[in-house]
Subunit: 266 residues, 2 copies
């Protein structure tokens, strides 16, 4: 099973996931698709997100993948129930993220979810969390300015702190200490968020969560790479290309090296 | 010539232009297309912007228009030289905007241009301004966070003021008093910009500029509406639809009423 692991995100945010997975699974090859030409997904309708998502899953399947991972939270909300795509195992971030948050919260049972407008509007995390534990108390907050701030590199910055203070006021007041980062861009804002919410806040990040999920899938048998990782490939494909994205990709994957971004047409 | 005037923008920002034109030309019908499913254009490559632009011009032509207006500055930069599309007069915002700025600046000859990354990277305004008057001094500044701030309604707000202070520092220090708002979203930030740059700053806005241009085109003959405006139509078509956009559209067109947004597939 030396075919690769397919990862899809609306843009480059999912590289924060690819980075963690590439470090945890050094024998595996990866094929990443960032739909930069049509990002952001966070304010699109479910119908449009699903249409784009299906195109991308088809593209990744054609690249000979053995697992498909939807790193994008907004896209995960519209593929929430599906466990495979045309016979290939399909992972999304919502279900494992919810499980991990419940473990982190323990007896406290109060969990905050931060996400794009589309993710929060879907209530996918709240629904999943409640289904897993009906006693859980969920606070959902849309943070639509976080993605542009990350994409513009406005990180560890007074502007971002002011925006975070605005969005996180209620979570801060209520001293909620388990927070799901429900968007692949948000781990970049880790230190801005800790500054506002306190150093003891537990941030549940998609990269860590998916890495546990993938480990479990491999544990169930037979699809882990048998090679020693020598010659493994990490392809990053995007649907549009500007200098800006080359820089952003390098920054998001740092310190992991990446090759040239490949521009593809879906 | 009772066919309508076609206007295209990457999203709803161009409604600031439609509003001005609908008020100035009360006899005319309009057909607006906002490519919301694929916005923002401001960080896409010229090839991608051109591809999308041609699809939209074709769509608008099929709606029986007599003039085509590219309200989107990022798209205008890739159609800068073209004066017609398949036989229909084509207006962009860059050339008339530059002319208006030169008139506003007068003897001062110092002009600042604010725009998206794509618009600024193209240097379309600087090139056009220099071609019209080689003595002009142009300061170009990309303000990529302004569009998301407008779309999230963060207007007349300390966050936006802090962002504006960051972007406009040089313009403020050099006391440049003629500023081209090179993006259809920016007129919404008029008061935040004046707060930072001083009440005496002259803001050159696409709506005003295109209205003068259209007046001139009508003056040249024969295509102005002959009706009294009774029953004129203002259609707003978009490529994706969420509640968020209904609200944003109403806010941008206020106090002009708009009908239901029409979702179209290109």
């Amino acid at each position: 099973m030396n075919s690769s692991i397919g990862i899809f995100d609306s843009g480059l945010g999912g590289l924060t996931v690819l980075k963690v997975l590439a470090q945890k699974f050094p024998h595996e090859s990866f094929c990443y698709l960032g739909d930069i030409a049509r990002l952001p997904y966070g304010n699109k309708s479910p119908e449009t997100i699903r249409k784009y998502g299906l195109q991308i899953l088809k593209f990744l399947k054609a690249q000979n993948v053995k697992v498909l991972i939807i790193a994008c939270n907004s896209a995960s909300t519209v593929f929430l129930e599906e466990r495979e795509f045309e016979g290939i195992p399909l992972l999304n971030v919502i279900v494992p993220g919810s499980r991990a948050a419940l473990v982190a919260a323990g007896m406290d049972k109060r969990i905050a979810v931060l996400g794009t407008s589309a993710t929060i509007r879907s209530h996918a995390y709240a629904t999943t969390l409640k289904a897993l534990d009906s006693a859980v108390e969920v606070t959902e907050t849309a943070c639509p300015l976080f993605v542009p701030l990350v994409e513009e590199g406005v990180v560890e910055d007074p502007i971002t702190e002011l925006v975070a203070l605005r969005y996180l006021q209620k979570i801060k007041q209520q001293k909620i200490k388990t927070v799901i980062l429900g968007c692949t861009h948000y781990p970049v804002l880790r230190s801005d968020l800790r500054k506002v919410l306190g150093q003891d806040v537990q941030l549940v990040e998609s990269g860590e969560v998916l890495s546990a999920e993938l480990g479990q899938l491999f544990g169930n048998g037979g699809i882990e790479a048998s090679s020693d990782g020598h010659g493994r490939q990490i392809r990053v494909c995007i649907t549009d290309l500007t200098d800006h994205f080359e820089r952003l990709a390098t920054q998001l994957m740092d310190p992991e090296p990446i090759g040239r971004l490949e521009k593809v047409v879906l």
